[in-house]
Symmetry: C2
Subunit: 240 residues, 2 copies
Amino acid sequence: MTETTTSVRRPDQLPSQVLHALDAAVKRKPAGRKEDQLLDAAEEIFLSHGYAGASVDDIVLRAGISKATLYKYFHDKESLFSAVIDRRCVQQRERLSALTTNASTEDALIEGGKMAVTFMVSPLAQSVYRTCVAEAARFPHVGHVFYLSAAVAMTKQLSAVFERAEAAGDLVVPDKAFAANQLWQLARSVYFYELMFQVRDNVSQNERNHVVRESLEMFVARYGTESFKPRMAEALAKLS
Amino acid sequence: MTETTTSVRRPDQLPSQVLHALDAAVKRKPAGRKEDQLLDAAEEIFLSHGYAGASVDDIVLRAGISKATLYKYFHDKESLFSAVIDRRCVQQRERLSALTTNASTEDALIEGGKMAVTFMVSPLAQSVYRTCVAEAARFPHVGHVFYLSAAVAMTKQLSAVFERAEAAGDLVVPDKAFAANQLWQLARSVYFYELMFQVRDNVSQNERNHVVRESLEMFVARYGTESFKPRMAEALAKLS
DNA sequence: AATGAACTGAACTGTTCTGTTCAGTTGATG
DNA sequence: CATCAACTGAACAGAACAGTTCAGTTCATT
């Protein structure tokens, strides 16, 4: 069962009469139930078959709804596809915004690096990336939404970390947006592409740590102050 | 005119009688003429529409040949697609192998960086990347071929540069393959992805130089010897 | 019990797709 | 001139496709 996205939640401690009223409200305006089933199914099919390779019949079959219902919710296949990508990108953005804020520079960088790498090599992120790259040429909107959710969101997060680190005398980063992009790119080294091109099918904890360590070592070699470099080296050494 | 792929070559100094015989042999087994027309057309359509979005009818129309002929050369659409990707990847590999070998470390890095960035932002490389990413999940062979042509070829080239630089006391690169990958990733910063996701549609000479400069600055900060760093800085400063 | 909105299932339209078939054309060769 | 292989053009089969339609069902509300 997928959770409803209605703003109405059902607290278990309310009297059953009220519960019925809430149930009624939910069923009156499903606004989520069927639509979420549909979006979930569509996401599965689109992300694994691509836009052209996904058939509307497959989607409604998987969603367990009728084709007529699909076309009540969405005007056509393209709208459905856009909705799927939009929803997933919003979720990606939220997932990336969870960066801790009150740690030391070295811990913030390591935690951020771990999160970035783990995120990148996850099957879902790989699928989303694959689909957005594939369709960005024919659906510019998809490209923009993905770019906003990934690059822009990540740039904002990392820029904040860099600013605090600069205030603390740990880093000197003239162009924070560009540096954020560089760090993100470094985190993609080797394993991201080996997964993307089917050269391997998983990345171990050790391998993830390896990329984090090497990325940060290079990053700090370029942007770290002399006083910070030994502290970073020490923190990286502890990284299994 | 595309060059024939027959093993028979035509040396201009042979008597005309022999030339006619050779011509005959070539025309008897066109092995290239029609097939190249076909591959050229197929490449155009596949790279711009993706595998599922490309129709065989479009391809034969563009190639100016009949459908029956296509199916004489290739057993099915998938074989044709594979052949297109294979051919293009071989050409990519050749394009990437043109790295100069006998320059100073700083010149080799700068020339290599310029070539890498210029290559990455070219419409053709973008299309190939897009198509290979899109189809690697359903055509593992495509993923492998692309990976070999891009990552492996580039790693080999850069590793050679690193080795000479190490011998010259300019760099210290423990894991050359990994470092090559890192440098390649850095060259992808910002503009590659802005193009890929339709956020912009071209990259100026200045922007390309900017990425080259920043990538190499970071790379040398991490792997350069102290004696080499000032030389690299000087060389980068000259980069418009 | 009646109402009405959401939904279903299945048929249907018209298009497009891959892959096959075949009678006939072309053009070089012996 | 006769031959032979490559090729053409057009039709064809069979399947899949997006999107529409509609008679009938479900079910909370009145």
